[in-house]
């Protein structure tokens, strides 16, 4: 008791706290290369100014209440050894697709397919940013900036200011195959950031896959702009080393009759946060965002945070948030999800579910579901549950001869099924399901 009291007296005065924060930001920036930028130059300069104004988040920040931002504030990450061999074979390799390979966040042309596919224009940020004008200038940093209200997201601003590479995809038709971005690691201490811009024009469609291994620390932004009737399916399954720190941000603007379906699979990682900021701006649009998360504290600390903000500004739109986390051996899961229905967004159909399956008593799930509604003719529902394995179902399976470990794998897959249902394509869903099953089977004994 008295010890705590003494400590509070030692707190450094506020004035030098602000100065310290500015120093911390400067130290973070000094450790990076700041690209001057071509077509992005204005957006980068603006981002830098915004960042100096807002500073990096601290642990007392309301929006970072459940996840400690300090490891992301540190100038450099702890190096993480490169795995000789991944325990699973790479995903989606048997599909006909256009592959783009990034090594520590930089495009590797030699390992990638030619950037040619009917119905889309593909460029890389590093290449395009040598020019002063580009179609992506209308989007780069713009959706990220719009997504800063009402909640500040400083790491996304940092990304806009400093990201040196990423893909710029403009979809004008319906390409015959998906685009697959594959991340690889080369350096143990890589502090990776990338910034994608995806613009899907009127009536056009794209499936974008993103998998692979990312650096010791990563901070990514994807800005998605969907015109009238456009469709994007974005499926990510990035593999993380056990000690990895990762932040990702999705900023989407969904136009009339457009459809966004985003699914993320996450396993491992010491500290991960995925932010999804979706503005539904056109009537009759659909936006779904879902995630399946598996965390095992057996191999080291595990903390995974999904933070989502969906704004309905138009009529007759549908949004769904489906988040499922399976946690064991002291793993921690966080969900902060909000649906904001603006005045006039009548006939909104908003749905949000966050659920955790805790496989032991040491793991925990923290959920903050929020609804804020300013229209009077809407249907919005949200639910959040935290539970253990269903003992009746477990007994049912074992009574048929299914061994305990195998029955647990079945029940975990069963728990995650609703999230996987958000992957429309059966082949892709099957492969994600197989990947989950392999991971679960491998970890069943621990």
């Amino acid at each position: 008791m008295s010890e705590a009291a003494v400590k509070t007296k030692d707190v450094t005065p506020q004035i030098s706290g602000a100065a310290k924060a500015a120093d911390a930001l400067q130290a973070r920036l000094d450790a990076m290369t700041l690209p001057k930028g071509g077509f992005t130059a204005a957006a980068r300069a603006d981002a830098l100014a915004r960042l100096r104004d807002m500073g990096l988040p601290g642990p007392r920040d309301e929006y970072w209440r459940y996840t400690d931002p300090r490891p992301f504030n540190a100038p450099v990450p702890q190096p993480i050894p490169i795995e000789e061999r991944a325990p699973d074979s790479p995903l989606f390799t048997d599909l006909d697709r256009l592959t783009l390979v990034f090594v520590d966040g930089a495009f590797d042309a030699a390992s990638s397919d030619d950037l040619m596919l009917e119905g889309i224009e593909i460029d890389t940020l590093a290449n395009a940013d040598a020019q002063d004008s580009h179609w992506a200038a209308d989007v780069y940093g713009k959706l990220e900036t719009a997504g800063q209200n009402p909640v500040k997201r400083p790491f996304a601003v940092l990304n806009t200011a400093t990201a040196s590479d990423g893909v710029l995809i403009r979809v004008t038709g319906r390409p015959a195959k998906p685009v697959h971005i594959i991340h690889r690691r080369a350096r143990e201490d890589a502090d990776v950031s990338w910034h994608h811009v995806i613009r899907v024009e009127e009536g056009a469609e794209l499936t974008l896959l993103e998998t692979g291994m990312v650096g010791a620390r990563s901070n990514s932004v994807i800005e998605v702009d969907l015109a009238r009737g456009a469709k994007l399916h974005h499926i990510t399954a990035k593999r993380a080393g056990h000690q990895k720190l990762g932040l990702s941000h999705l900023f989407a603007r969904v136009g009339a009759e457009a459809q966004l379906k985003a699914f993320n699979l996450s396993v491992n990682g010491t500290l991960m946060r995925h932010e999804g900021v979706i503005d539904i701006v056109g009537d009759d649009a659909v936006a779904h965002i879902a995630a399946a998360v598996l965390g095992d504290g057996h191999v080291g600390p595990f903390h995974h945070d999904d933070t989502v903000f969906i704004t309905h500004s138009a009529e007759r739109c549908e949004s769904r948030q489906v988040f499922k986390k399976v946690l064991k051996n002291g793993a921690e899961g966080v969900f902060q999800g909000k649906i904001l229905v603006k005045p006039g967004a009548q006939k909104t159909d908003g749905y949000q579910i966050s659920q955790a399956l805790l496989l032991d008593e040491r793991s925990q799930f923290l959920a903050k579901p929020e609804l804020e509604i300013y229209a009077d003719d809407v249907k919005c529902s949200h639910g959040s549950t935290t539970g253990a394995i269903d003992e009746t179902a477990l007994f049912y399976m074992r009574s048929r001869g299914v061994p305990y470990d195998r029955a647990i794998v079945f029940l975990v897959l069963s728990f995650l099924a609703d999230a996987l249902e958000e992957i429309e394509d059966e082949t892709l869903r099957g492969q994600i399901n197989d990947r989950l099953e392999a991971w679960l089977t491998r970890r069943a004994k621990q």
């Binding site: 269903d390 003992e391 009746t392 179902a393 007994f395 049912y396 399976m397 074992r398 009574s399 048929r400 001869g401 299914v402 061994p403 305990y404 195998r406 079945f410 029940l411 897959l413 069963s414 728990f415 995650l416 099924a417 609703d418 996987l420």
Partner: protein
């Protein structure tokens, strides 16, 4: 086949004795029925025999072909040849009916040191058995029991029984919630499985199921014990007169 001797069981969480010295023997090839009023311990008996958590055995024993059941895990009892058809079969979203059943069949075979069934052989067998139970290909593909009607769930239980080919089948109120046609389908499925090496313990409230599945012996259970045993006529007598007189007579 199944021998239960002086079995005493209480609930783990509350100090409540459910089975109070139950003894029963089901020889190979026979069908025994257990009838009894609500709360007599019939379902508890089926759960205790198949190894569900939450019960404490304070006295007595139960063996299957001389092997003690009560020390085994539920999956070990299944591999030893015990099967429980549930009163309320459990829905398992996201797990395909066929995937689940193939896993169960092969896990049992593996546990017995037998070779696993190939996909082709499994498919051949399940298609044939499903056809007899009027279960279509769509139902086989759907998640386990999800969206199934009451009758479909019970037929699915019998399909599992047919595929797993247990030696000792316990059926816990399989007739509950079934219309006459569904009951006949289920009974036909059970009758097709009858044989000299397979025994059944049929738990039911009503005599009508026993019109379709003819028992060799009928036991009346009350207050955690078997209070009377007899031939099929005993079931008819209960249907006519109720449990009252009979229980009073048994003391």
């Amino acid at each position: 086949m199944l021998k239960i001797n002086n079995l005493h069981v209480k609930l783990e969480e509350e100090d409540k004795q459910i089975l109070k010295g139950l003894s029963l023997e089901v020889p190979a090839g026979q069908v025994h029925a257990i009838m009894g009023p609500n709360g007599s311990g019939k379902s508890t008996l089926s759960y205790v025999l198949s190894g569900r958590d939450g019960y404490e055995i304070t006295e007595g024993e139960a063996t299957l072909d001389g092997e003690s059941l009560l020390d085994m895990e539920p999956e070990e009892r299944a591999a030893a040849g015990l099967f429980l058809a549930f009163q309320y079969p459990v829905e398992i979203p996201g797990v395909g009916n066929m995937t689940f059943l193939r896993t169960a069949v092969n896990a049992q075979r593996k546990a017995r040191g037998e070779e696993e069934l190939s996909s082709a052989e499994f498919l051949k067998q399940i298609r044939e058995k499903a056809r007899n139970l009027d279960i279509d290909a769509e139902m086989l593909k759907r998640p386990v029991n999800v969206g199934f009607s009451g009758g479909e769930k019970k037929r699915n239980e019998i399909l599992q029984m047919a595929m797993l080919a247990p030696r000792m089948c316990i059926m816990d109120e399989t007739d509950s919630g079934l219309d006459v046609d569904a009951m006949r389908l289920v009974a036909d499925g059970v009758n097709a499985l009858r044989g000299p090496d397979r025994s059944f313990l049929v738990i039911t409230h009503y005599q009508r199921l026993l019109n379709h599945i003819q028992p060799d012996v009928v036991h009346i259970m009350s207050n955690g014990r078997i209070v009377k045993s007899g031939g099929p006529d005993l079931a008819l007598q209960i249907e006519d007169e109720g449990y009252g007189d009979l229980l009073a007579e048994a003391g």
